[in-house]
């Protein structure tokens, strides 16, 4: 159909070229999400602390990251990462792009996650905070027992949506030649002389994963929404 031929695909090619990239894409997404949420929460709490020494650097970091294209951030980290750093990690010298990509995505996504966190924390009404205070809770207790559980519940759908966007963005490691899902498929496509089919297949794979995940998020959203 349309001069396309998908018949070159078989299990051998998938396991030889595609699987490795697919695993890296998933790995990158999961590590960047977890790392980004942790670093993002720290940044959000810094910005909400009201202490200038913490607020200013956090704001600067978040706004800085958010005003630069991801591709440029990927290139920056790859350029500035010292060679000695990769030698510290076993097998690091052969996987420079991949390691650099993981660190970049944690640092970059933290800025976006921190904005989601901040909005979530601010969405909790003052009355809740005041009630905690009235019960004699410390700031930490108030955060841990009153604010964050509610904020997190409000945020889960947005955090998951951001993770889906993150998964799409992992394809941009193309800029530094890291071996991800897209690279795996295009490599196979080039070797077997079927580049167009490989791109089309990449689109289908990304679509199925992202569409499936966003469907699940939508279902989840209806389920966990706090009824007010």
């Amino acid at each position: 159909m349309f001069g396309l031929d998908m018949s070159f695909l078989n299990w051998e090619i998938i396991s030889k070229f595609v699987l490795k990239g697919f695993i890296f894409s998933i790995e990158l997404t999961v590590i960047a999400t977890i790392g980004g949420i942790i670093l993002g929460t720290v940044l959000a709490l810094m910005r909400l602390s009201g202490i200038k020494l913490l607020t200013i650097p956090a704001t600067f970091y978040v706004n800085g990251m958010r005003s630069v294209p991801l591709v440029m951030v990927i290139l920056w980290f790859y350029l500035l990462m010292p060679a000695a750093f990769f030698d510290l990690i076993p097998g690091g010298a052969n996987n420079r792009s991949e390691i650099s990509a993981i660190i970049t995505f944690i640092a970059f996504e933290a800025a976006y996650f921190s904005e989601i966190m901040r909005a979530g924390i601010q969405s909790i009404s003052r009355g809740q905070v005041n009630a905690g205070r009235a019960l004699g809770m410390t700031y930490a207790q108030n955060m841990r027992l009153i604010v964050l559980p509610q904020a997190f519940r409000n945020m889960v759908p947005i955090l998951l949506t951001q993770t889906i966007i993150l998964f799409q963005d992992t394809s941009l490691v193309y800029a530094i030649g890291a071996y991800d899902l897209l690279k795996g498929l295009t490599t196979a496509g080039k070797i077997y002389g079927r580049p167009e089919e490989a791109y089309l297949l990449a689109a289908v794979v990304y679509f199925v994963i992202c569409f499936g995940l966003s469907y699940i998020v939508k279902k989840l959203q209806n389920k966990i929404a706090i009824i007010r």
């Binding site: 349309f2 001069g3 396309l4 958010r66 005003s67 630069v68 294209p69 991801l70 591709v71 440029m72 290139l75 920056w76 350029l79 500035l80 976006y112 904005e115 989601i116 909005a119 947005i158 949506t161 951001q162 966007i165 799409q168 963005d169 394809s171 941009l172 193309y174 800029a175 897209l182 580049p195 167009e196 791109y199 089309l200 990449a202 689109a203 990304y206 679509f207 992202c210 569409f211 966003s214």
Partner: protein, 240 residues
Amino acid sequence: MTWDWQVFLNDDGSGRTYLQWMMDAWGWTLAVAGCSWVVAILTGGLMGTLRTLPNSPWLVRLASVWVELFRNIPLLVQIFLWYFVVPKIFPVMQQVPSFVLVVFALGFFTSARIAEQVRAGVQALPRGQRYAGMAMGFTTAQTYRYVILPMAFRIIIPPLTSESMNLLKNSSVAFAVSIAELTMFAMQAQEETSRGVEVYLAVTVLYAVSAFAVNRVMTFVEKKVQIPGFVVAGATGGGH
């Protein structure tokens, strides 16, 4: 390390300095982003409107498919599809310059997000607005043209602003098909001059300046077309 900003005055081998090359590249970035923005607003506005039509389930479905399709495939893959796959399937497209292909790729990608915002904007309006249009004897088209869309487009300006800034940043992905824009310049100049930090820094500043300019322009427009007495809830969203 020491700074070497003189590098921008060096000849790049074709008779122009790196500075001139960078300014040309900035122009390409703005051109890609500007043209894509027009495509994105037109198709996004259309698809978002179609999704809210009251009695046309097939148009609603069509627009939903559009949104899901362009939202769930990474931009880089979409650019490759336009650049490699579309010309293969439709040989007519082989004549189309890659600039145009990238504009459509980026424009349609962004249109899916804008469509969602337009839909949210229309649905955020009180139902009475639509009924008022019907009571005046307007057709559906007239109701949208004179009542709903002028309101909806104004209340979605804040999210449109961040989406426009995203579009500008996303134009960097055009490097993948060798459009001579800023990111492409950054990668090539870095390789040729080995002054990566200076080159990247200059490019990063240009991106930040452009994004800030978009923000100012949109804020200006927002103030100009503000509906008196109509409070707009600020919408925050993820994405980039």
